[in-house]
């Protein structure tokens, strides 16, 4: 297991480097100019100086390696310095956003909590809804509950989050006025009143994302339960005289959860991507909103760094899913 992990990690590095190169070249090929919004009255020689100040004067490969160095060495070391009071990378250039002239990672650190509270919580809620639904649907296959559950998960799967979000806003924010339609990120939870406010503003975005995720995961859960319910060991367990509850909730459920756990791990980075839309609907200024505003402003360092972070998340969670599968299922041997 350990050797497998150690073998997998170096394999992930070339693919991450390749992905970063693809993103970099895509941005490089783009005809957009980060100085496009500079007024025409600015003389060309000043514009040239501004270009150099942004680090755009050099050849692309030099800038690519510079960015790699900044991402993998200076930024982690800066964090190390800040934590332990050392001065390893003192005074070295960090990745700076074109748009706000602030280190990219500082902006990202500001935005992560919003994304994590909304997206992370909704994923949790989605999983908690999906697993019982999947269990009951599979146990009572073709019952009315199963038919309804399958239909609803099909609907949940087919309705794009921007549509469910907008419908919820129309019903609950505009007509009933139960919840606010805009997520207020400046809200600090200090007492019960502000906590209640936070809960109310989280209800709709969390519902939208949770339903979407629950629709997918419950289908996996149902299929996995169905596979296991037909196995011989279930008959053996029943023949031993175990109660139905023990058979289903201990024997079958544990085995069925193995593939579902990996699906959940694999879906986690995709949720960050899908949350881009939900964040836009409810005006949550998290990572997704940051990415869109950076793309629109041609803020190359920000877009590059953010997209690469998404890629790292995908690679890391794929690795985690593979390892989890090996840990949970002793029949799988990687060596």
């Amino acid at each position: 297991m350990l050797t497998y992990t150690l073998r997998r990690i170096p394999m992930a590095i070339p693919s991450l480097l390749f992905i970063s190169l693809v993103i970099f070249l895509l941005l490089e090929l783009s005809p957009g100019d980060p100085l496009g919004s500079v007024p025409l009255t600015v003389p060309p020689e000043v514009k040239e100086k501004m270009r150099e100040a942004l680090g755009l004067g050099q050849a692309w490969y030099i800038r690519y390696f510079l960015w790699l160095k900044q991402f993998f060495w200076i930024e982690p070391m800066h964090w190390f310095d800040a934590t332990f009071g050392t001065a390893i990378v003192e005074g070295q250039q960090r990745i700076i956003s074109f748009q706000s002239r602030v280190p990219v990672f500082d902006v990202i650190a500001q935005r992560i909590p919003q994304t994590l509270t909304v997206v992370g919580f909704s994923y949790l809620v989605g999983v908690l809804i999906a697993i019982p639904i999947g269990i009951i649907s599979a146990y009572k296959q073709y019952s009315w509950f199963d038919q309804l559950g399958t239909f609803l998960s099909m609907v949940g799967f087919s309705m794009p989050t921007f549509f469910t979000g907008v419908v919820l806003i129309i019903i609950f924010a505009v007509n009933l006025q139960w919840f606010p339609s805009v997520y207020d990120t400046t809200l600090r939870v200090t007492d019960w009143a502000s906590f209640w406010k936070q809960v109310r503003q989280m209800v709709m975005p969390v519902t939208v994302l949770a339903l979407y995720n629950a629709a997918q995961i419950s289908r996996f859960m149902r299929a996995s339960m169905l596979d296991n319910l037909r196995q011989d060991y279930v008959r053996t367990a029943r023949a031993k005289g175990l109660s139905e509850k023990t058979v289903v909730l201990k024997h079958v459920l544990r085995n069925s959860l193995i593939p579902v756990v990996t699906v959940i791990a694999l879906g986690l980075p995709a949720v960050f991507g899908g949350a881009i839309i939900t964040e836009q609907v409810f005006r949550v200024n998290g990572l997704g909103q940051l990415l869109i505003s950076a793309i629109q402003a041609n803020d190359i360092p920000m877009v590059l760094t953010l997209t690469f972070i998404f890629a790292i998340l995908i690679v890391v969670f794929t690795l985690i899913a593979d390892l989890l599968y090996g840990i949970l299922d002793p029949r799988i041997r990687y060596d």
């Binding site: 783009s30 005809p31 309705m159 549509f163 419908v167 990415l291 793309i295 997209t307 998404f310």
Partner: protein, 345 residues
């Protein structure tokens, strides 16, 4: 298990899902009682059965099984209705979707405008028809690109052992790409130059279709590769190889027809995800230009007025959801119908 095994009910058994003893009985019975049946490849047990004439084709069986899937049939009818609405609708309701009539703006439903008009006085019904045409066209074209690319790479990776490792690595790399951010990036960066060269509508259409196609072929490629790897071990491939079939004909005549069913299922589900992706791009304001209606764009344009005119948001959104839902159900029914283990039950 007690009934006597006659050729006809052995043939009926053949279509049953794999069940230990029934399987055994069927195999021995069909070999012993009807030698004619065993001369045909056991690839498609139903059409190979002796009781039925040769006119029973595989596709008719697939259709028969598909019809018994109630959800899929309802979905098919609804999808055809949506297609008629989008394709034939503009011939019946001949109002220009882009015609601006400022004096008739924000009108409610009337005989002149059955679904009302928008903030510029454009007819909502005509815009929904035009928008649907673009959305479905994007879905279909992107699916064709994705499935062609996916099948090609899948067959190459599965058939040629030398290409397997690099192509599998390529699939993995593409699966690790953050797709939505990259799509957003591609569309934002290349929209204007392409629109300048090819015209706003065509340029954006090509860009979006190619971008979606190039980022969604991996699932199809993986499924096809797995199936081809399994097929390669089968006897009929060995037989074809032994009579000297060249690789090209091997792929086109023997491999491709056998992986057609997973490809078709992947294609159907691909339409659904392409429609969603296109409307998501339009919803983020990064899709088609404003005078070029698609369902996602109509939804996006209606967001600022959703408090006063909620119908303008709900109609295109409901159409997107309904189309995707029907396509998903059709894909589900196809998957069941194409699976010979379920078919004929």
């Amino acid at each position: 298990m007690t009934d006597p095994v006659t050729p006809s009910n052995a043939a009926a058994r053949a279509a049953e899902p794999a069940r230990d003893t029934a399987e055994l009985i069927r195999e021995t019975a069909s070999n012993a009682v009807s030698p004619a049946a065993s001369t045909l490849p056991p690839d498609d047990p139903v059409s190979a059965s002796p009781g039925t004439p040769a006119t029973r084709s595989q596709w008719r069986d697939v259709w028969a099984q598909f019809r018994s899937h109630r959800g899929a049939m309802i979905a098919l009818v609804l999808f055809v209705l949506i297609l008629l609405f989008v394709l034939v609708g503009p011939w019946v309701w001949q109002v220009d979707a882009t015609f601006v009539d400022i004096r008739a703006r924000n009108k409610g439903p009337s005989w002149a405008h059955p679904l009302g008009t928008d903030q510029l006085g454009r007819d909502t019904l005509a815009r929904l028809m035009a928008g649907g045409k673009t959305s479905i066209a994007v879905g279909l074209t992107a699916m064709i690109i994705a499935v062609t690319l996916g099948s090609l790479i899948g067959i190459l990776a599965g058939f040629y052992r030398r290409l397997d490792a690099p192509l599998s690595r390529l699939i993995e790399l593409f699966l690790a790409l953050p797709l939505l951010p990259l799509l957003l990036l591609m569309v934002t960066l290349f929209r204007e130059p392409l629109a300048k060269n090819l015209g706003a509508g065509l340029g954006t259409f090509l860009l979006i279709v190619v971008a979606i196609g190039a980022t969604s072929w991996m699932q199809a490629a993986r499924i096809v590769r797995g199936d081809v790897l399994g097929l390669k071990e089968r006897e009929f491939i060995l037989a074809a190889r032994s009579i000297g079939t060249p690789n090209r004909r091997m792929v086109l005549r023997h491999i491709l027809p056998n992986v057609l069913s997973p490809i078709m299922v992947a294609a159907t589900l691909g339409i659904a995800s392409a429609i969603i992706t296109e409307s998501a791009l339009s919803f983020l304001g990064l899709g088609f230009p404003p005078d070029f209606p698609t369902w996602g764009r109509l939804l996006f344009d209606a967001i600022p007025q959703m408090q006063t005119y909620p119908m303008r948001v709900i109609l295109p959104g409901a159409l997107i959801s309904l189309t995707v839902l029907t396509v998903n159900y059709i894909g589900d029914g196809l998957r069941d119908a194409m699976d010979p283990r379920i078919r004929g039950r």
